[in-house]
Amino acid sequence: MSLGDQLLQYLFTGITIGTIYGMVALGFNIIYSSTGIINLAQGEFVMLGGMTMVYLTTIIRLPMVIGFFLSILIVTAIGAAFERAAIHPLRSPSVITLIIITVAASILFKGGAMFAWGKYTFILPPFSGEEPLNILGATILPQTLWILGIMGATVAFLILFFGFTITGKAMRACAVNRTAASLVGINVKTMVLLSFALSAGIGATAGIIITPIALMNYDRGTMLAVKGFSVAVLGGLGSNVGAILAGFIIGIMESLGAGFVSSGYKDAIALVVLLLVLFVRPSGLLGSRERAEFKKF
């Protein structure tokens, strides 16, 4: 393969993995915008989505489509239950308390998955065919197209939901000013619940579509959460366009780094980017500096 072909190949790989990071970042944004909480258990939703899909389609042998929607539904319910059980009972919690409780939840999800499915790594057949497509000398798996398509659908859904439904608008109102939102009759607590459910659903979707390419085991959540958070911060916490864009940037950097520098240090790239952004410009690429300072953290 020539260098150009190689570059193109890394680019495709980077975009694929970057899409997933972007979707994890979207999950962070949704909860952060409406509650100011960074949900450190976000990566576990991705893991649970992938694992549930594997269980439903390869062990119970449900059809792909039913398994897909059922997995999302189940993880969405888990997200909602988590909010009710652990976030809802806290009265005016401090930031440290919130961090500890979401970390604890992430441990519990991870432990629960290990309990249910063991430490094995699971495979999932791709959604359609394994015959790679040849584009400009680089190969691209059909699953990559599925990943891009489903991310497009997710983003379209979010735009429609936040822009045109009364519930979505109410959630945005909470993000701007919670007190004012509750004064005009929005039930803020319900919106918090919804944001956890929605965020879990998006995480699960990401987990389901990546599993045919990247496999899945109980232990993947933490790293996905950290990388998703790096992406969210690089894009500007709360900015959804920023999240998608930063996802591609970090995905491509990672795949180039793994290809040309060292695959062993691949996982460190997103972390180093995270530290640099936090140290130099915590508001990220597209976040407004004013808003970053305005928020409590």
Partner: protein
């Protein structure tokens, strides 16, 4: 540092001095050595979390840096452990300062994620820099501490060595807490802006206490390396950072005595949880959730409160 703390410290010293006499079994001594090592880390972490109101999700990295610096210097370069220990302190403190200076400008979630990212990076380096660290499979033959011809080999000797250092760390910490610095730290916790306006240089105090907590963790790391005499990256990952935070939170963040309680409880607990193998993580998670929801002050203040109630 107050008469009461002095009294508590002396009582602790007396108890720890006498404890081995009551324990014929060297298994418990071994466990107590680990309680001591972990206590050193949690005492530092509680100063940083409980008093200064900050958070670190990467404290295991400093423990690892101490252990690896000490281990590599003594096993591969023939440096005496007595010199490797201060060298490790020097290296770890330097790294803590470099990472802390920019990181401590961040607050809350941002600081948590920055320390978490730092911890992961260090862990990746332990795994990848295999020329020094032996990679994932680690390296052994780390020499023990020795005094002349006498090698600190047995559990009982190491027990006294470790707990002597724990008492020293407590003494230093209590002195800090009851000094001008301690008051400044608490003022950061209550309200950093207000503290700044009153003329407290909060940035300086935060970095000082962060570096101090890293130094405690580094000493604990050296003690670990020269006791186990074998190192691999597993004990220094994210999981252990969380265990450390759990220890501090369970014991009670707002007191170094809480840090000691938490380290002791969770280390003993993990011995009993051995039967569950990896599922112990489920129990840690549950404990953390329950404590945060029902006893946000931690166990130590709760027990103290209960004692007061029964007295009156």
């Amino acid at each position: 540092m107050g008469k009461r703390n002095m009294f508590s410290l002396l009582s602790l010293a007396a108890v720890m001095l006498a404890l081995p006499l009551g324990l014929g079994n060297s298994y418990y001594l071994n466990v107590l050595v680990f309680v001591g090592i972990y206590s050193l880390i949690t005492i530092g972490l509680s100063l940083f979390m409980g008093y200064a109101g900050q958070i670190s999700l990467g404290q295991a990295a400093f423990f690892g840096l101490g252990a690896y610096t000490s281990g590599v210097l003594s096993a591969k370069f023939g440096v005496s452990p007595w010199l490797a220990l201060p060298a490790a302190i020097f290296v770890t403190a330097g790294i803590a300062f470099l990472i802390g200076a920019p990181a401590l400008k961040l607050k809350g979630h941002y600081l948590a994620m920055a320390t978490l990212a730092f911890g992961h990076i260090v862990y990746i380096v332990f795994n990848q820099a295999s020329f020094f660290t032996g990679g994932p499979s680690g390296f052994g033959q780390i020499p023990r501490f020795r005094l002349g011809n006498f090698v600190l080999r047995s559990d009982i000797h190491y027990y006294y060595f470790v707990w002597g250092l724990v008492i020293a760390a407590l003494l230093i910490s209590l002195n800090i807490i009851h000094s001008r610095v301690g008051r400044a730290l608490r003022s950061i916790h209550e309200g950093e802006l207000a503290a700044n306006i009153m003329g407290v240089n909060t940035a300086k105090y935060k970095i000082q206490i962060f570096v101090l907590s890293a130094v405690y963790a580094s000493v604990a790391g050296s003690l670990y390396a020269h006791f186990i005499t074998f190192l691999n990256p597993t004990p220094f990952g994210f999981h252990f950072s969380i265990v450390l935070v759990t220890m501090v939170v369970v014991g009670g963040m707002a007191s170094v005595w809480g840090a000691l309680t938490g380290a002791a409880l969770l280390t003993l607990l993990s011995e009993y949880l051995r039967v569950f193998h990896d599922y112990d993580i489920l129990i840690y998670g549950s404990i953390l959730v329950l404590i945060v929801i029902f006893l946000p002050q931690g166990l130590f203040p709760a027990i103290l409160g209960l004692l007061k109630k029964t007295k009156s």
